[in-house]
Every structure is written in structure tokens, then in C-alpha cells.
Amino acid sequence: MTPAGSSPSAAALSASARWRWWEFALLAAGLLSWLLLPGHALLLNEIAILALFALSLDLILGYAGIVSLGHSAYFGFGAYVAALFAKHVLPDPLLGMAAAILAATGLGFATSGLILRGSDLTRLMVTLGIALVLYELANRLDWLTGGADGLQGVVMGPLLGRFEFDLYGRTAYAYSLLVLLAALLFCRRLVHSPFGASLQALRDNPLRAASIGLSVRRRLVAIYSIAGGIAGAAGALVAQTAGFASLDVLDFHRSADVLLVLVIGGAGYLYGGIFGAIVFKLLHDAISVLTPQYWTFWLGLFLVVLVLVGRDRLVRPWTWWERRRT
């Protein structure tokens, strides 16, 4: 057999896996933002968490073609597991993170059977249903979750035994950045592997993929569980950096927001979630400072314009009035 790495497909894979200059620039920007913008660490922390959440959605939406309106189920589940872990077991953040990721992956695995079949609309509704059921469960089990009031008494221990979560949010931001980086590296490896290529094949044409012997079921289950785990990590970050978990981590608007973020940034190239999170959060924050009451209007307008003009044309204003080349 030809040695690994010398076949044309292997060469293509390793070519696409090469690091691009803008990926390095993005990493550098992340590091610099922590060093140079200490006053904004809190907002940046929120952006990093949202980016991680969007990254997990990109895995199933951008790479496997599963449309989900209920991804907050795994996010929220991870948040509650991390909060409960810190409250009842050990306040160490890293152990709590590990517990949350495991639990959320498990939940993803358990529910993956439900999204295997059906059209876009079916999957949309089933995933939505899962998230809604989980929300009601959390509300019902208020002896465990604190119900609508939220889970109090979560005191996080210092990170790695040394770095306390401070009022300025610098430790929190560094923590979230590192988790995001780890997840990004992991996902990069995943999508630029034969597994990742097979995912794109079955996203584009499941029938053909199945006919060449790819097990569609197993791949979908695998990617859905992994995405669930990463969403759980994002949820754990929220619970740990805020020291609080309440029902809104499972709420529908979280699923809707993350879908918006990913579509703004573009699905299918892993970094869409990051760019989308940055744009969405900054816009939302800036507009809601200017008009706390009517920011939804401007945000809606932005979304409409973004779609009408097209994402790639948006950054080049001179192309706006050109006729669209379909």
C-alpha cells in the first residue's frame, strides 16, 4: 500500500490543515487583547465563551449539516453540572470543566438518536423540543437547580490553585481564552482529518456518502456528541466565571443567538463562530448602551442588511450597489 501521507487525498488534507497567516494573527490578537485591554476583560470573556459555543455549533451545522435550534440544551447542561460540581463536590474549576464536558458529551450521545433522520425543519423542531424539555426539567427539579431563582452558593476555587477569579475578570478571560484555544486546536485536528472530510461528504450528499460505505449514523452520533461536549465546556465557563447558574442558560434565546452568531460569521470554516461572536457581542453592547430600549431594532436592521448585501460584500462597501452576480 502507498505509505500514509503520499496519496493525493492525504496531501490535500495536510495542505488544507496548514496554518494560515490570519489564524496566527487571530491568536496574537487574542493574547494582545488580554494584555492591553484589561478594562474590557469582562466583555471579552463573554465574547470568548460565545465563540466557543458557536464553534461547537459549527461542528454540527457547518460540517455535518445538522440544523439545531436547541443547542442551548448542552450549553445549559454543562453550566449546571459545573455549578453543581463546584457546590457539592470540589470547587476546582478544571475538574468541574472536565465533569461538565463529560456530562454534556453523554447527553449529546443520548439525544443523538433523535436527530438522525428528517429534513431541516424536523431537526430544527426536535432539537428545539429537547432544549425546551430540559428547560422545564430544570425548572421542575428546583430542589437541585434552584429553579427560576437560580443556583446560589457556587464559590469557585482559584484556577490551578493560584489564580483567583477577580472582580476585573482578567483571570476569567485568560481561562476562557485558553479553553477556546484548546477546543479550536482540537476541532482543527478533527475537521482536517479523514473523519472531517467524511463529515463534509455526508453533509453535501448523504445518499452518495452512504453508497460509498460511510456509516452516516455513526458519524452523526460521534460529531453530535463531540459538539455537545464542547457546548458543555462553554456552559461550564459561564457558570464558573459568573459563579452562578440559572434557567436562562437553557433558554431558547441562547440557541437562537448562537445560531445568529454562526450565520453572521459564516458556517463551515471553524472561525465563523469567533468572528460572528466578536461582531455580534460588540454590536449588541455598543447599541444597547446608546439605546437601552430599542437596540433590537438596529440589530435586526444589521442582520437584514447583512443578508441582503452578503457577508463577503459587506466588508467591501464599493461592491454594494453592483448587480449581484448569481
Binding site: 451545522l61 440544523v67 438518536g113 433523535l114 433522520r117 428528517g118 429534513s119 431541516d120 425543519l121 424536523t122 430544527l124 423542531m125 426536535v126 428545539l128 423540543g129 429537547i130 425546551l132 424539555v133 422545564e136 426539567l137 421542575r140 431558547f252 437562537a256 445560531l259 445568529l260 450565520v263 453572521i264 458556517a267 430600549q293 430599542y294 437596540w295 433590537t296 431594532f297 440589530l299 435586526g300 436592521l301 444589521f302 442582520l303 437584514v304 447583512l306 443578508v307 441582503l308 449581484r324 448569481t326
Partner: protein
């Protein structure tokens, strides 16, 4: 018991009128229009404003709500929606959510964020007691109107030229266009009627479901459930799905109040897992 059934049926029929436009646009134009709730809200507010500020009688506001929402539908379809037909589902979702946000904020700006109130005319208030079953007059009215609409829609679809053209365009737009049908006009008309129906539903529902600027987001979920479970290829599909949803919701909350909120979602998940194309949809390889 029967009272509950009656209540569930009226709730279900209301949901049907609200959701049927969405089912048709999705089935016909393969366009996920999450702004559908905004048209319903527009109709609701139109009815409330006409009644409260301009003193119109309730019955007159209903066709007005239909017309206003339909006109809004035509205008938006021509200007904003047309370029979106060829885009991906995700772009459509983004676009329609953006429109919804704008509509919500605009209504909030102009009319405030409180619940809007409708005063029903006296002949619609109260109830009849027929053999121990309480029949609310307004709920009966809703059932009557919605049933009439359903029959009208079904008749248009199966007995008129427009209906057969519409069905042809749903089955295969390219072949239909190839046969000389003006598919664009059919789309526009259908979108207008669908939005008009949503507006009518919003006006009818203001009394029972409430009306405030967050209406589109609150109820979008239920519309989507009706469309997903009912399928998008028939009228009767969403009708039965809506009735099922209404009855299950009301009965579930009565008999098993602890699980009240779950019931609807679990039923939906079960149905969609067993029959992914909805209860009555054909499996279209879209």
C-alpha cells in the same frame, strides 16, 4: 371534560389559522419565514387600534386585519423577500429573524410594551350551557370562523384554477414555470394570503393569547411545531396537527399538571422521530 375538549379545539383552530400561512410558504417557496409571527402581530395591533382608537366594531376589524397584513406581505415580498428565495435556509433564518427584531422594536416604539386590550362586543361575551358543557361564545365564534376559512381554503385549492396552479407550483416549480405558469405571481399571491391569514389569526387571538410586542417570538415556537408536525404539502395536515397540539396541550395540563409544559414538546419529539416528514407530509427529498 367536553368543555375542555371544546377549549382545546378552539385553541387548536386558532393556531391553525395562524400557522397555515407559514406551512404554505414553506411548502411552496421552501422559504423559512420566521417573521410570520410579525404579520400576525401586525394584524392583531391593526384590529386593536381600529377598535380602540377609531371606534370600529369588532367584526369590521377582522377583514381589516387580514387586508393590512396581506398588503404588508405583498410589499415586503416584492421588495425584500424576492432576492432571498435562492439563498440558503440559514440566510433566510437570519433575514427573517432580523425582520422580526425590527418589527418588535418598531411596535414597542410606537405603541409601548404593555399588553393590548380588546373589548369584545357583548354578543360575543359569556357562554352557553348546553347539556352541562360550557360553550364559550367567543370560542365558538373562533371555531366557526376558522372552520369556514379551512373549507374555503380547501375549496380554492382543489376546485379553482388558481388552486391547481398553486398545487402544481408546490410539486415542482421548474416544470410549472416551464408549462407557462407565472410562478412569481403565484408566490406573491400566496405569500399575501398566508400573511393575511396570520394577521386575521392575530386579531382573533388577541383576546385569548394576548397581544404585546413580544408576540412573534413567544408564539413562533407553536407555529413551527404545527408546521413541522403537520407537514407542508396539504392543508389538512397542519389542521390536524394544530388540533392535536391544542387538545394535547389543554388535556395534558388538566390531567397531568405536573408535566403540563412538557407534554406538547414530548409529543412533538415522538411524532417527529417516528415520522420525520410530519404526520401527513410526503417524504420529499428536499
Amino acid at each position: 371534560m367536553l368543555t375542555l375538549l371544546f377549549d382545546g379545539i378552539s385553541y387548536g383552530m386558532l393556531l391553525f389559522v395562524l400557522a397555515v400561512g407559514l406551512a404554505v410558504t414553506l411548502g411552496l417557496m421552501n422559504f423559512i419565514n420566521l417573521a410570520h409571527g410579525a404579520f400576525a402581530m401586525a394584524g392583531g395591533y391593526a384590529a386593536v387600534l381600529l377598535m380602540n382608537r377609531a371606534g370600529w366594531p369588532f367584526l369590521a376589524t377582522l377583514p381589516a386585519a387580514f387586508v393590512i397584513a396581506a398588503v404588508a406581505g405583498v410589499v415586503l415580498e416584492r421588495t425584500l423577500y424576492r432576492p432571498m428565495y435562492a439563498r440558503s435556509h440559514l440566510d433566510q433564518v437570519l433575514f427573517s429573524i432580523g425582520l422580526t427584531f425590527m418589527a418588535i422594536a418598531a411596535v414597542d416604539w410606537f405603541l409601548g410594551s404593555q399588553q393590548q386590550n380588546l373589548q369584545l362586543p357583548p354578543w360575543l361575551q359569556g357562554r352557553f350551557d348546553v347539556a352541562g358543557v360550557g360553550i364559550g361564545k367567543y370560542r365558538l365564534f373562533i371555531i366557526a370562523v376558522c372552520a369556514a376559512l379551512t373549507i374555503l381554503l380547501q375549496w380554492v385549492l382543489s376546485r379553482t384554477r388558481f388552486g391547481s396552479r398553486l398545487r402544481a407550483s408546490v410539486d415542482d416549480p421548474r416544470v410549472a414555470a416551464g408549462l407557462g405558469l407565472d410562478v412569481n405571481r403565484i408566490f406573491a399571491l400566496t405569500f399575501a394570503v398566508g400573511s393575511g391569514l396570520a394577521g386575521l389569526g392575530g386579531a382573533l387571538g388577541a383576546e385569548i393569547l394576548g397581544l404585546d410586542p413580544t408576540f412573534p417570538l413567544k408564539f413562533m415556537m407553536y407555529f413551527l411545531i404545527v408546521v413541522a408536525v403537520g407537514g407542508t404539502t396539504t392543508i389538512t395536515g397542519p389542521l390536524l396537527a394544530a388540533l392535536l397540539l391544542g387538545i394535547a396541550d389543554v388535556m395534558g395540563k388538566y390531567y397531568v399538571p405536573k408535566l403540563g409544559a412538557f407534554i406538547v414538546y414530548v409529543v412533538m419529539i415522538v411524532i417527529l422521530t417516528l415520522r420525520p416528514q410530519g404526520l401527513f407530509g410526503r417524504s420529499i427529498a428536499r
